[in-house]
């Protein structure tokens, strides 16, 4: 056959080839599975994904080990509050070994943001909207693929960080102790959720720098700022509901009066990500690309 285009492709609604021994037509149809595959291919075929994932692993494991070493007194801590606005409490060995999440959350947020803003920046998103005119399946697929990759990687990192941290601390805490598995899983889930938050903010703002700035402010600056400027009882009423502190609640074994209960923390996180995804979906559907 000398056709410029393939004779073997046929859409579900197209009639079969009229003459000759028909080659088995492969059916062309837009499917959610296909969109998921596309997002997976896109995520794994750029170097920045591999580099950021590696950086997140190093952050979780390396900082966890460092924090454990500081806590164990092997390294002298600098002056000042050790865990200001951050994760974990100075006394919870599990939380200490997972304190690398504080840095890793920023890295995974960037992974989520870039998965979206890169496509707006290059104009590639428009080629995808032409392939998927209803648009939203692209957002869901992106969120799912990023969440699965980040959560899976974070789980490995969190388990390693926990084991390394406990051996540095010599705490005697192990994965079988009550609440520990929940905290380690919680750390991985938290990072997965933050990466989806990155996807949502990226889709809302469509620009890398702006999205990253908003996420850094939300995750790092606002929690500290609120503690600093609000009257004490306001601050204790509000700050537990911030995404980062809701995440802390998931990762701490020995609860704390400044944090929500783990289940409540999970619900609050789900609420944040749900809200932002709905906003992102609305913007993606209604704004000209």
């Amino acid at each position: 056959m000398s056709s410029i285009l393939s004779d073997e492709l046929a859409a579900v609604d197209a009639p079969g080839p009229a003459d000759g021994p028909a080659p088995r037509p492969s059916v062309l149809a837009l499917t959610f599975r296909g969109i998921l595959r596309a997002e997976w291919i896109k995520l794994r075929t750029v170097r920045s994904t591999r580099m950021t994932c590696f950086a997140a692993l190093v952050a979780v494991i390396g900082l966890g080990a460092l924090a454990a070493a500081v806590s164990a007194g092997d390294i002298t801590a600098p002056e000042g509050p050790r865990h200001a606005g951050g994760f974990g409490s100075a006394t919870d060995p599990t939380a200490i070994s997972l304190s690398g999440v504080l840095l890793a959350q920023l890295i995974v947020a960037v992974i989520g943001v870039l998965a979206v803003t890169n496509e707006y920046g290059t104009g590639m998103i428009r080629a995808y909207f032409a392939a998927v005119p209803t648009r939203l399946p692209l957002l869901w697929a992106k969120a799912i693929v990023v969440a699965v990759v980040v959560t899976a990687g974070s789980l490995i990192a969190a388990v390693v960080a926990f084991l390394v941290g406990q051996s540095v601390l010599g705490s005697g805490v192990d994965l079988g102790d009550p609440g520990v598995v929940r905290a380690v899983l919680g750390a991985a889930l938290y990072l997965g959720v933050i990466s989806v938050l990155g996807v949502a903010v990226g889709a809302l703002l469509r620009h890398t720098a702006g999205s990253v700035a908003v996420l850094f402010a939300t995750l790092l600056i606002i929690p500290q700022l609120l503690v600093a400027i609000l009257p004490g009882d306001w601050s204790t009423a509000i700050t537990p509901y911030l995404p980062s502190n809701a995440g802390s609640a998931l990762m701490t074994v020995s609860g704390s009066d400044t944090l929500l209960a783990p289940a409540a923390g999970a619900a609050v996180l789900a609420g944040w990500v749900g809200l932002l995804l709905v906003g992102a979906a609305w913007r993606m559907r209604t704004t000209d690309a």
Partner: protein, 307 residues
């Protein structure tokens, strides 16, 4: 087949597309022409559902674009060259796009071959030249064996050899019975590639006509005769303009030279000069689009119906 009906798009106070209606038929290359800012890209974006029309209706192969089972198979398009992640290889870029619609890997390698990028398929697309980026975009448009191929300024950045290549590619696609819709602001290139033209200016339809008519209608003929006045009386008719340049010279538009010669012969009038000035395509195009700026909207639509 693309059917556009009363399409309007306003961006705030700018009306980019203004009550535009036309059809793009299968089996031939239709050129979409207009000066910069005429609304070509905006129209194409609306056909793909990227911009929401302020008013009007578009169907592609009889259906609204969002209702297609395999949109990529209905319309293959190229709107922006180099809309590629610079760090991803050409092949991976196409593999991802192909995956959405279930296009097999074998087909990805086939289109890379068609556009001549096989040897650089695994290189970072960021290192591609403008012309290579354009070819990659065209590969993406052909990926899912589309019924309609729609390209926005595909010749941009191509070298002369590339321009000939794309001309033959588009004509080949049309011969296979596909609908081919290509925008350009280069009339001379379109005249060689397209059979039919849709011409827009300031968002409005100016002309919807076969390429042959664009050249035909723009002919002006100079006639010199000792009896120029008598000849003018024989020539003048509806739709024909006769201008007296001097006592023995006329400028005639709207009549072919053969007809002028025949009428003079029948009237027994001797001619000294009979010279057709075929206006260049560029000039015809400029005249047409220039008109659109000057004419009131109602007159523009009258012209449209006439064409």
């Amino acid at each position: 087949m693309i059917v556009v009906e009363h399409l309007t798009k306003r961006f705030g106070r700018v009306t980019a597309v203004d009550d535009l209606s036309f059809q793009v038929r299968p089996g031939l290359v239709t050129g979409f022409l207009g000066p910069n800012g005429a609304g070509k890209s905006t129209t194409m974006r609306m056909i793909l559902g990227l911009d929401r029309p302020t008013a009007g209706r578009i169907t592609v192969n009889g259906r609204r674009f969002v209702d297609q089972a395999a949109p990529l198979h209905e319309i293959g398009s190229l709107l922006e060259a180099r809309a590629v992640h610079p760090g991803r290889s050409a092949r991976n870029h196409l593999l991802a796009l192909a995956a959405t619609t279930g296009v097999p890997t074998r087909r990805v390698d086939e289109v890379l071959d068609i556009v001549g990028l096989t040897s650089v398929a695994r290189q970072r697309a960021g290192a591609f030249s403008l012309g290579m980026g354009q070819r990659l975009g065209i590969a993406g448009a052909l990926l899912a064996d589309p019924e309609v191929v729609m390209l926005d300024e595909p010749a941009n950045g191509l070298d002369p050899e590339g321009i000939v290549w794309i001309r033959e590619l588009l004509q080949g696609l049309a011969r296979e019975g596909r609908t081919v819709f290509v925008s350009s602001h280069l009339i001379s290139e379109m005249a060689l590639t397209a059979e039919h033209l849709v011409i827009v200016g300031r968002g409005r339809l100016i002309a919807d006509l076969p390429v042959s008519e664009l050249t035909g209608t723009s002919d002006r003929v100079t006639v010199r005769s000792p009896r120029a006045g008598d000849l003018a009386a024989l020539l003048i008719d509806r739709g024909i303009t006769v201008t007296s340049v001097s006592t023995d010279q006329l400028e005639v538009t709207g009549l072919p030279v053969e007809e002028i010669g025949r009428r003079a012969f029948d009237g027994g009038i001797m001619l000294h000069t009979l010279t057709p000035h075929s206006i260049s395509l560029e000039q015809a195009f400029i005249d047409l689009t220039h008109d659109s700026v000057q004419y009131a909207p109602t007159e523009v639509s009258t012209r449209t119906v006439a064409a």
